[in-house]
Amino acid sequence: MKVWFYITLLLIFFISCVEEVQIPFRSETVKLIVEGGITNDKPPYVIKLSYSGNLIRANYLNLNLAISGARVIVTDDLGESVEFEQSLSERGIYRSIDESYIGKIGRTYTLKVLLKEGRIFESKPAKMLACPPIDSLYGIYEDVINTTEPDGYKVYLDTKDPAKEQNYYRWYAYGYSRVGKICGGKFCSNTCALPSIGDPTSGFNFCWVPRFQTRIDIESDALINGNSIRKRPVFYSPVYAIGKHFVEVTQFSINRDAYQFWRLYQEQSSRTGTIIDPLPAPIQGNVSNINDPLDYALGYFEVAGISRKRLVILGKYDVLEVENNALNFTPKDGGCSLLNASCSRPDGWPKD
């Protein structure tokens, strides 16, 4: 009897299994993808236009998708409008050209896209909603269970949700830390010497390493209306070296449609194959062909009021703990070999 129990037990280990497979592929009509929007922040505002790619192989991504030659206009409910101009350096990027055209809380905005091939797309009108201020940002040094990154600062946000209306939030954050060289198994002093002639990388003892948030961070006040939003994690800044960290968080007050779009996008990009996965769906937003409503665009034209806050973490470390952990992850030739690292001081970095 017991023998079978153990045999059963042994086999259970191998029961639920995941294996890589090849799937057949099916290509559908190419879709317009709209990304970007307008806020009450200072211009320029950015709209990005691209096409969806066909599947050439099930796992192949075609990168040549940017749209050029389109006309992009945003109009508000008072009839004022602003044209967007195609960027010369970045493909598919359009920027508003009128510096004096600034988004205003309470106004309603509509996007119109005229493609070179003739189709005209328009967004549903959306109202710009006021955004409550971020009360505080703070970082707490935490051990993380992650084998690809060192321990670091989890950045949290507190804000107060206004009770009188329904609010929907989106947060975006980015940050920098400064990472130096390793000398003799320890961090060297963080000084930025000039490079020696003939070898442009030789002098940089440290670089600023940026980190951009990629996950979708949204919340509805449906469950917490009028209460504080406390200790909401908004960012993670890994500690590669001893030193300061800089973080900027933007809080967007988005409308309900936008929230639903982001949630759909989040759901669709986080499908994991569990038994309670949502059904797959196109990430259809608020933009569609004015002559053919079935020809919808993917993506979203977002109209949002924003508030922003910056945080500098001075970094009081248990040096030994940090070194033990971070040295496993910091490249031997220093922070300058990390992705997107730069020796120029980023905007907002505190004076040493």
């Binding site: 294996e19 890589e20 799937i23 993808i33 099930a58 469950l223 769906a281």
Partner: protein, 794 residues
């Protein structure tokens, strides 16, 4: 020689009506002048047995006992051999001289204790061609212990999926799908108590303990007029009555759970009790999983109790109670729990030899809870549904050719869609709840089964049901010409407690016709309409714990389904082989579909997230069975399709551009075979094989870059398919009895589930590594699973 317990009572019956005589004249043109009638009861329980075939062998003429165990046959005077056969009872043969009306009551012994027979289905072989019903499956519960099972758990629902027309979306998914229907379209009645969730352990097992079950019938079509409320099927599960003579005990254990059952007389021949329970201990197994899952916790139990009081020969009262509980915890995150509690009280009365009645009171409550364990955001979410019902059924059998049933019921529904409470003082969660919903459903029905001639029978029935949503509540009116959203509400009307808010009603015709070509060949036709007023709201492929029920309201209309079926049935070799081919077509109105990205849970204006859809399914089921002998078994091939189409004037809400698309349960080809062989000395070998086309799934059909990430586009729903599913299981079981009447014995079962260890895909999903997509297949039970289980009887 078997000991036959035969208590013939002779009595003259002079009250035989003229009507019957006339009908006999019309249909047969013969002169009957002797009638034999009587009651068939179970030897052990003294309860009437329904569905026993009483056959006059020389005439090949037979009838079936009704719910009161009553039968009656008229014959010419003469000497006859009469046989009594039933699914789970031993054959009794009696020779009689019939010169006057004769009463022959019969006590029959259960054949579950018979070592010689294991049948896969519990349907009587001759019903295949001779009864008017079609599209029904009866499971022989006593044989369940000997078929292969997963983790040692005998499971009624898994056994049903080996039958044509019954599928699931995958291993570990709760519920079952009948002829392409949804899970919530099955009415599951345990002793008349509706069961709203049939799952244990998130869907791995059914939550009805097979040890306490006496019979299981699934109606895929031809649903009797006395039942309504769900579109696809009716599953009736009846529990055993307690043993009236002696106390008995049985218990058993397997890798997941242990079970115990006891039954016996509290007052001999008057009051009996049966109690059964199962308790699971899956945690020790889960704790062996890799770290990520090892902290998960699960638990379940279920219990049944039945008290049966025999007031006198003609009246009895049965009280049946049921409870099932589950919880499941994902590490550091969320705790789910769900509970079903139900009770029914049934009074059965035989008013006279022709008329009997059943009156039933039912209460069934299902509740689901979810506990969030995150700091500052602790919560407890609860939803529930309650069903209170009173019903009465009359059965009138004026003659062997006529069977008339009528009755009525009233149901009070209460649904609490969801209530959210903060958990812990620091929680930022606000208390929130979606208003409770109330409704009353009333229905009346009549059904008439008429054997016009020996070969031609008709069952005509109708049910009229009415459903009213009651206050308190509010009806929102939406702007015409735009999609329903919160912003398009123009006004709303409030209703006070008990006030009627919306009423739907309609007639549900039920019709079956049998045209026998001869005793062994027949053609049957059926049509039925069903109305469904309750809907399970679920935006996932499999039913999930967070699904909740919704009653029909002004904006969410009741689902209406019509099913047409035709079949040809043939028995061979003195009913040893049973074959059939059945075709069906179903049309469904007002199915619920979901807008992309809709909020369902805690949405007080749920209609803004829902879409109206129509559905159709059709198929052919070809089935072959061998009922007798040392080797028995069945095989079937099913072709079945199931589609849905969203109907909305607003193009952005359309799914698949408004075209028909395959539903999640569209599995065209289905082959099932099961064989059981008796090899002597109590050993039985059994095997199953099942093959099904993979279920529809949506693979990405385009790629895009958004938010600096690569994403997959899914433009069409259910346009692709998972790989085909197939599996073979084997089991060996040993019954330690040496003689059929041995009281103390054990049954051991060793099963090998998924014998050749196929990784059947439950789901395929993709993950991106920078610019490439990689696809992974998840198999839930992707290797051979041995299990050993035993049951001891005292």
């Amino acid at each position: 020689m078997k000991k036959i317990n035969l208590i013939p009572t002779l009595s003259t019956n002079i009250g035989f009506g003229f009507l019957f005589w006339l009908c006999s004249q019309v249909s047969f043109g013969q002169n009957y002048n002797a009638k034999i009638e009587g009651y068939v009861t179970d030897f052990a329980t003294k309860k009437p047995i329904e569905g026993i075939s009483v056959t006059v062998r020389q005439l090949r003429k037979g009838v079936t006992t009704d719910a009161n165990g009553y039968y009656s046959i008229s014959v010419l005077q003469g000497k006859y051999v009469i046989s009594f056969t039933g699914v789970s009872h031993k054959l009794v043969v009696k020779e009689l001289k019939l010169y006057e009306d004769t009463r022959l009551d019969m006590e029959m012994k259960e054949s579950a204790k018979d070592l010689d027979e294991v049948t896969v289905t519990g349907k009587k072989a001759e019903d295949n061609t001779r009864s008017v019903t079609m599209g029904t499956i009866k499971l022989n519960v006593s044989a369940l212990k000997k078929i292969p099972v997963v983790f040692g758990e005998t499971d009624i629902l898994k056994a049903l999926t080996l039958q044509p027309g019954v599928t699931t979306v995958g291993e570990g998914a709760g519920g079952f799908n009948v002829r392409g229907g949804r899970v919530d379209q099955n009415l599951v009645l345990l002793d008349e108590m509706p069961i709203f969730n049939t799952s244990h352990l998130l869907g791995f097992f059914a939550n009805v303990n097979p040890d306490v079950v006496s019979d299981v019938s699934l109606y895929k079509g031809g649903i009797p007029a006395n039942y309504g409320g769900r579109l696809s099927s009716l599953l009736t599960i009846n529990t055993k009555n307690g043993n009236p003579e002696k106390w008995r005990l049985s218990w058993g254990a397997g890798p997941i759970s242990a079970r115990v059952m006891t039954e016996g007389p509290i007052i001999k021949d008057k009051l009996t009790l049966l109690v059964g329970a199962r308790v699971a201990y899956p945690n020790w197994m889960i704790s062996q999983f890799p770290d990520r899952y090892a902290k998960s916790r699960a638990f379940f139990y279920d219990g049944n109790a039945k008290l049966q009081y025999r007031l006198n020969k003609n009246n009895s009262i049965a009280l049946s109670a049921y409870q099932s509980y589950d919880n499941f915890k994902f590490p550091d995150d969320t705790l789910y729990d769900w509970r079903s509690t139900a009770a029914s009280l049934k009074w059965s009365s035989v008013i006279n030899s022709k008329l009997s009645l059943d009156a039933v009171l039912v209460n069934s409550y299902y509740e689901f809870g979810m506990k969030g364990l995150k700091d500052f955001y602790g919560f407890y979410l609860k939803s529930s549904i309650e069903h209170q019902e009173a019903k009465v059924n009359f059965l009138y059998t004026p003659s062997e050719k006529h069977k008339i049933e009528w009755g009525a019921n009233i149901i009070n529904h209460k649904v609490s869609p969801s209530t959210l409470n903060p958990d812990g003082v620091e929680s930022s969660i606000n208390r929130q709840s979606v208003r409770d919903e109330f409704a009353r459903e009333t229905a009346g029905y009549v059904s008439w089964e008429f054997a016009i001639t020996k070969l031609l029978s008709i069952q005509l029935g109708g049910r009229f049901s009415s459903f009213s949503q009651l206050g308190n509540g509010r009806i929102n009116n939406y702007e015409v010409g735009v999609s329903k959203t919160k912003e398009s509400i123009i006004d709303s009307v409030s209703f006070s407690d008990g006030q009627v808010m919306t009423t739907y009603s309609g007639f549900e015709p039920r019709l079956s016709l049998k045209v026998g070509l001869d005793d062994n060949n027949s053609v049957k036709l059926s049509y039925n309409r069903m109305r469904q007023y309750l809907h399970l709201i679920s935006n996932t492929t499999a039913i999930s714990p967070v699904d909740f029920w919704k009653i029909s309201d002004t904006h969410i209309q009741p689902q209406v389904g019509d099913q047409y079926a035709i079949g040809f049935f043939k028995n061979l070799n003195d009913d040893m082989f049973e074959t059939s081919i059945e075709g069906y077509y179903k049309d469904i109105l007002n199915m619920i579909e979901y807008k992309n990205g809709a909020t369902l849970l805690l949405n007080p204006i749920l209609e803004t997230g829902l879409l109206n859809a129509i559905g159709k399914s059709y198929g052919v089921e070809i089935s072959f069975k061998k009922n007798k002998g040392k080797i028995t078994g069945q095989g079937s091939y099913t072709y079945s399709r199931s589609f849905a189409k969203v109907q909305t004037p607003f193009p952005l809400d359309l799914v698949n551009r408004g075209d028909w698309f395959p539903s999640n349960f569209d599995r065209p080809h289905n082959v099932v075979g099961s064989v059981s062989a008796q090899v002597g000395k109590g050993w039985t070998f059994a095997g199953n094989f099942t093959y099904t086309t993979g279920r529809p799934i949506t693979y990405p059909d385009g790629l895009f870059i958004f938010n600096n990430q690569f994403g997959n586009n899914y433009s069409l729903r259910n346009a692709d398919r998972l790989p085909d599913y197939h599996r073979m299981d084997l089991s060996i079981s040993k019954d330690t009895r040496h003689s059929k009447d041995q009281k103390k014995y054990a049954v051991w079962n060793f099963s090998l589930y998924n014998l050749y260890g196929r990784n059947n895909a439950y789901s395929i999903y993709s993950t991106r590594f920078n610019r490439t997509n990689r696809f992974y297949q998840l198999s839930v039970l992707g290797s051979i699973i041995p299990s050993l289980t035993f049951n001891l009887y005292y």
